[in-house]
């Protein structure tokens, strides 16, 4: 009886799966066009899955091994089950292989079930609690049903009762694992995830690459939408990416805004996009809600505006664009892109940048700096430093990109320290002076692509007038924008963060340094240096050269927690239960360090905003400048000593 029932079940489930896949595919294709390498992507997909994705998943050994066993066992079991039971090829070797696959999957599923006994809060519940049972049911049913094929049990063992039980088990298993995959069940992540990897909008991320710059909007075409208003305004492969979410909540656990009680949860945001893609309400969401916003009150559809229907605006403005969610996401979903896309619509179409946003953008338009300071004062910080202007010199080795920190008295100390370092190392450097403008970082992240492009284009035109080998900046935001985001507008430069440059100077023996004498030190990785640009080592090398043994925080390197200063978050200032910099200061205090080394004016400002008593905050440039030993000075001291004698 099973011999007739199993093929029917299998092929019915497969047919439904194919229909569901088609439906889902056309749902994604409602999005805007995107250029993808259709075939190349599909061919590259297995490698992306086995290498790049596994790389992320393997940070958590337990689930990595569990997933290898379960998914590997399932794929093998599914193929063999179709061959053996679907096409009735009752070959003994195939039967034994199918038994092995089912056993592997069963063991994996046991570990899935174990984790679901006391699931951490980041995991979604609901249908996801059912998944381990379905996995066990699938593997167990096929295992028993295959025993006769492998010749271990007689063909008619158990009679019709067992056959019926097995048929029910198989029906449950294939419902979840075959057509549940394309009809929106938890297994959807496997189907959508595989295609998402194939047609990812940032294919450069695979194979160890890095792609973190925001994509430029086409402003030359007046009919092109300015950002994303409705789900269909996303590109179709972004929609596909949302659908790939496995709701593991790694993003939620890493998100600084969520931890601060601001109304953002990256996982929920992606699930809301899935709701928007298919239409409906968020009532079925079985994970942590946006802090302070109950689930079930929002709904949307593919052609309905997202903001103030599906998602509230303050959710989007809570993001610091720290990219911790993207870094953690095992499905390589691009949360930050989606958030900025929606912000673009709010700013460019609705004029609804909250709090100080509008003022900052107006300032950027009128004065080229976010504070609205007189552009003529951009070089006042260096009035006594006798800096060379690139407009006088026309060419140099190093262009020192000062950034808007030039107007901030705290940051001026960092800038002056870095100038001391450059002078001590006899670097051939110059500054743009009054010709420099804001890099456009904050405008772009507040969604004002027009102001960003205007600033960027003028900066590129200025830079084009001169010749220099490299740009060095003390601001990771300027550094990132110049390095990764000006390229699309025609500005390609070699750009270094000052920590990288100082590390080079030290390695080349150009700096005569003493040893740090100021107590223990920890280091805070800026998001835009670390996660955005992969520079974790150079700042630590510099600190090491000063004789500092960095007392690492629990969350450091690629897991560093944001200071709360990125993405215009201090400007939009969405209230939460606590402040992000306060949380980061707790991380810092846990190390017992007396001083925290930073490499970013935003981080400096945010961390210094934490009330005392707290560890001191110093930029890497300041730490280096503090211990500079000037060789000529040593001679001078000797001469004084001689004169005294």
């Amino acid at each position: 009886m099973l011999n007739t029932l199993l093929p029917i079940l299998l092929f019915a489930a497969l047919l439904l799966a194919v229909i569901g896949a088609g439906k889902r595919f056309f749902m994604w294709r409602r999005g805007r066009a995107a250029q993808v390498d259709w075939l190349g992507g599909l061919l590259a997909m297995p490698k992306r899955y086995m290498v790049d994705l596994h790389h992320v998943v393997a940070r958590d050994k337990y689930i990595a091994n569990t997933h290898v066993a379960t998914a590997g066992g399932f794929v093998l079991a599914a193929v063999l089950a179709i061959v053996v039971h679907g096409f009735g090829m009752h070959n003994r070797i195939l039967g034994v292989a199918l038994l092995g696959a089912c056993a592997l999957m069963f063991v994996g599923a046991l570990f899935v079930a174990k984790r679901r006994l006391k699931p951490p809060s980041r995991l979604s519940k609901g249908p996801w609690m059912r998944l381990p049972k379905s996995l066990l049911m699938f593997s167990a049913s096929f295992f028993i049903a295959t025993l006769p094929v492998a010749g271990i049990l007689p063909a008619d063992f158990g009679g019709w009762i067992l056959a019926l039980v097995l048929a029910i088990g198989v029906a449950w298993g294939v419902s979840e694992l075959f057509f549940g995959m394309t009809w929106g069940g938890p297994m959807k992540h496997a189907f959508a995830g595989a295609l998402h990897l194939a047609w990812h909008r940032r294919a450069e991320r695979f194979g160890g690459g890095r792609s973190t710059g925001l994509k430029a909007l086409d402003l030359s075409n007046p009919n092109a939408p300015l950002g994303v208003e409705k789900p269909t305004d996303f590109t179709w492969n972004q929609l596909l990416g949302f659908d790939a979410c496995v709701q593991c909540g790694k993003c939620e656990a890493a998100c600084p805004a969520f931890a601060a009680g601001q109304p953002l949860n990256p996982k929920k945001l992606i699930q809301d996009m899935v709701v928007g893609l298919a239409g409906g309400t968020d009532a079925k969401f079985a994970g942590s809600p946006y802090p302070g916003k109950p689930v079930g009150e929002h709904s949307g559809g593919p052609h309905q505006p997202i903001v103030n229907g599906l998602v509230d605006a303050d959710t989007l403005w809570s993001c610091t664009t720290c990219r911790a969610c993207v870094e953690e996401c095992p499905m390589m979903i691009e949360h930050v892109d989606a958030i900025v896309d929606m912000r673009r619509h709010l700013t460019l179409e609705k004029g609804a940048t909250p709090n100080k946003g509008a003022e900052v953008l107006d300032n950027l338009i009128a004065t080229d700096n976010p504070g609205g300071f007189n552009p003529g004062g951009r070089l006042n910080w260096a009035a006594d430093l006798n800096l060379t202007l690139l407009s006088d010199k026309k060419n140099c080795d190093v262009l020192f990109w000062v950034g808007d920190g030039a107007f901030d008295m705290r940051n001026q100390r960092t800038l002056r320290a870095f100038v001391n370092v450059l002078k001590a190392a006899n670097v051939d450097f110059a500054v743009l002076g009054l010709e420099e403008r804001d890099s456009g970082d904050v405008a772009r992240r507040l969604g004002d692509e027009a102001t960003f492009q205007s600033l960027a284009k003028r900066n590129i035109a200025t830079l084009g007038k001169y010749s220099f080998k490299r740009i060095v900046s003390c601001d990771p935001h300027s550094f990132h924008v110049l390095k990764n985001e000006y390229g699309a507008l025609g500005g390609n430069y070699e750009v270094l963060h000052h920590s990288t440059f100082i590390a080079e100077l030290i390695a080349a023996g150009k700096l005569n340094l003493g040893q740090h004498k100021g107590g223990s030190v920890t280091y805070h990785d800026p998001c835009y240096l670390g996660r955005y640009n992969g520079e974790y080592e150079a700042p630590r090398d510099v600190l090491r050269a000063l004789g500092i043994e960095v007392k690492e925080m629990q969350r450091s390197g690629f897991r560093s927690r944001c200071c709360g200063g990125g993405g215009g978050a201090p400007i939009t200032d969405i209230p939460g239960k606590q402040r992000i910099p306060d949380m980061r200061m707790v991380d810092i205090k846990e190390t017992g360090a007396e001083l925290v080394a930073v490499g970013c004016p935003q981080c400096t400002a945010m961390l210094e905003g934490v009330v005392e008593p707290r560890p001191q905050i110093k930029d890497i440039a300041e730490l280096v400048a503090d211990v500079l030993l000037e060789a000529p000075a040593a001679v001078a001291v000797k001469r004084v000593v001689e004169e005294v004698q």
């Binding site: 007046p222 300015l226 700013t347 460019l348 179409e349 609705k350 004029g351 609804a352 940048t353 946003g357 509008a358 953008l361 107006d362 338009i365 009128a366 004065t367 080229d368 609205g372 300071f373 007189n374 552009p375 004002d448 692509e449 027009a450 102001t451």
Partner: protein, 259 residues
Amino acid sequence: MQPKPLNVLCLVSIGAHPTSGRARRAEQDARAVELGLRLAGEQVQVLHAGNAEEEALRAYLGMGLSELSVLQQPDGADALPVLFDYLKDSGAQLVLTGSQAETGEGSGMLPYLLAEQLGWPLVVGLAEVEKVENGVAQVLQALPRGQRRRLQVRLPFLASVDNAAPVARQSAFGPARRGTLWTDEVHVLDDDLLSNASFQPARPRPKRLKVIKAKTGAERMKAATAKAAGGGGQVLKDVSAQEGAEAIFKLLLEEGVIR
């Protein structure tokens, strides 16, 4: 029944950013447009006399206007006659404008001269229009130190706004780019006063010396929050025009305003 929305027209000029001097929407004019948008929604008409090519005009469109009319004239031309010609037949019930332009002559005289020529009442420092009934508007006029005066004004009238009016909404790129600038060719009149006058840099207005006599914190607080009472003033009641004028003339002489 919802009353017919007020026919509101806003006069706007090109502003200049206080630190960079770059062209922008003028702060007070933008507040006038904001007030207009709140009163009449997208029906509000916005009018500029000057150069339609000026990109800064689009910043007004970015507030959500679909169009803006420009009475095309070169720099230095007198805006007053063309605005008068336009307004007298426009059917506008309320004309809003900033108190003083940020560029050009910036004398702050335009609202007064325009109201005089049109024969309309002028409300200076309009903060809010509370209601309009039977051709009469009830408005709040802003006075120093956050005080408000409630006025009844018959329509049509002209009002200038200052920083007491609501802050202008953000100007967005999309509507700014889409909006239309309609150009009207008008007869250009040279501004004789402007062309004959010579410009000189402004001097900051001298401030009265503030003598702090307070001994205690409470007294300082009182001094800081008290009304700017001259103390030496006098209230004239039921006096003839002649006597009143003489009193004013005497005061102006005393204060050194006229010599």
